[in-house]
Symmetry: C2
DNA sequence: TTACAATTTACTTTTAAGTGAAAATTATTT
DNA sequence: AAATAATTTTCACTTAAAAGTAAATTGTAA
């Protein structure tokens, strides 16, 4: 579905892929959990953004962490987050941190 | 109130000091967040236990972390927890980890 | 044997997480 | 330019789960 050639995906597609409401993606953005590229005012999510979001969901629903905790760990550039993270997600995470 | 000479305090006193219900302390214990000394079947909390509990409360109510996240960090012996922790609390935390 | 602490069960409260709908904004088409 | 379409934003609401607690029961030390 998300091949390597295409570099970005609109919010509705991403929401559908993740099985969540697009409003939830706006919600996460408010918390600075993800920061999709903007062309005009439209959002485009990279493949790494999507992997990152999948990882965040895992932290929430498999580990039981709450958003606030995840954000605290992001801000502290914490090893916990990076530890069991797939390589490309780490990459995305680092890009994400670099941007702020 | 909790001077250095006395080494341990019963649950009701601790609850009152922390401004919480004693049931909440049992609740935290269920999550292995604290592990008071048992003499007979009665619980005795050390000064360090109390400091530790205060720190846990700060993480919850000032930082907005949830119990599950705190527990995850404890299990991973995470730097986040220890970072901004007063020295004696770190000590208590390490004793706590040593016990399990 | 009684008084107090621990335990259990099930309940209440609180709040985070998520969402629906309408309004606003920007882009697109004719 | 007006109409239409698409996306974002806002506001208020719902839902679900975590956190906390009450009450009844059990256990046990003194």
């Amino acid at each position: 579905m998300f091949n390597e050639v295409d570099k970005s995906y609109p919010i509705e597609l991403v929401a559908e892929f993740l099985g969540i409401n697009s409003r939830t993606l706006y919600y996460y953005e408010k918390f600075n959990l993800v920061c999709p590229l903007r062309r005009g005012r439209k959002r485009y999510y990279s493949k790494e953004d999507i992997n990152w979001l999948e990882y965040v969901r895992e932290l929430m629903y498999e580990q039981g962490m709450n958003l606030r905790s995840i954000i605290i760990l992001i801000k502290r550039r914490d090893a916990v987050i990076l530890d069991r993270c797939p390589e490309d997600v780490v990459l995305c995470y680092k890009n994400y941190l670099a941007r702020k």
